[in-house]
Assembly symmetry: C2
Homo-oligomer: 201 residues x 2
């Protein structure tokens, strides 16, 4: 993917929330970089400050924690989704998690410094604030729903729902990552899958 169409994808994403004039886009794009992330390479590593926020233009990444030497996958970002270790990025503290490319990926990045400058830019400031708010709100709603699922639903119900809403991306992801995402072990997910098979068969 060439850098220009990657940037164009970022513009389209941004304008879904906040429309821009060509002049504003010109100003904003100055702060953006287009980077490639080879499979298995890290976007962020635990212990380091996440210095950028990005848009996945191509590919996919997974978020994971390491506990007792085990990797525990917490989230994914696919094409056309933002990615960052938000807490680290927002608070400038070391990240608690890794973000690793699941496939060769292309990411349009905005550094923390670039964001600050864009926010202070006379032309862009207001729109950047607005985009930031809308982005945070979007993820707030996602997280709220996920917490609700943990509290009100059984693992089996959570998996059934995921099957319905998850789309084709589910089939590109190893089961044990999905198990982690649901808060259960891979063995347990395998049993749930068998139970569901039997019912629907």
């Amino acid at each position: 993917m060439d850098p220009l169409s990657a940037l164009q994808k970022f513009r389209e994403y941004f304008e879904r929330y906040v429309p821009l004039t060509d002049e504003e886009w010109q100003a904003l794009s100055q702060y953006l970089t287009v980077d490639t992330l080879k499979k298995k390479r890290f976007y962020v590593e635990a212990g380091k400050v996440c210095d950028h926020i990005g848009l996945v233009v191509k590919g996919a990444v997974r978020y994971y924690h390491v506990k007792d030497g085990e990797e525990i996958t917490g989230y994914f970002s696919f094409e056309d989704e933002m990615l960052s270790s938000y807490k680290s990025f927002l608070t400038r503290t070391p990240a608690a998690n890794y973000i690793q490319a699941l496939e060769d990926s292309v990411i349009v990045n905005l550094s923390h410094k670039g964001l600050q400058q864009a926010c202070m830019n006379e032309l862009l400031g207001f729109k950047m604030e607005r985009f930031g708010r809308l982005t945070a709100e979007l993820y707030l709603i996602c997280y709220e729903e996920r917490i609700t699922a943990f509290i009100t639903q059984s693992p089996e119900e959570r998996y059934s729902d995921l099957l319905q809403t998850g789309g084709e991306a589910l089939y590109r992801i190893p089961q044990h990552y999905i198990a982690n995402y649901l808060g259960i072990t891979p063995v347990s997910l395998s049993r749930i899958r068998r139970r569901i098979m039997k019912i629907s068969a």
Copy 2:
């Protein structure tokens, strides 16, 4: 609590994130109302659109879902914390949960319409956007940590952590609400408590 000092508390909260001139505060306060919420009364009810966002100036509320006729408590807001059924407020769709006063409470409210007007106000717009962004980011971080806890920790670990970070507010809340919050049953929490007692005894 008199309305004036309630408003003053809102201003203090707001200014922790975005400082205001007296003139700006004057403009903002026009959009605020000070309401009392008697114990057991509802701030929001499931099925209705949550039309406001508020600051708990005195008292406490709990968030809960109803599933299979059972109440499942998902969250709390105490003094000096914001409250709203965010998804409902932000998307103007019916809320999935109830928010009920645990004690007689005083809440400073900003209606959806009021917020819109404040955002379009020449003087305030930028600062309202910024406050909105910072508020959403704050909760984003909270939610992120809570999800991480569900994925990486056992119920017992989650409860132990809660005991350390929760503060005195924990002792004002019925155990079975806390059990729901942790994603387990009250019976299970009681057993965890006994295990912890024995270890620390």
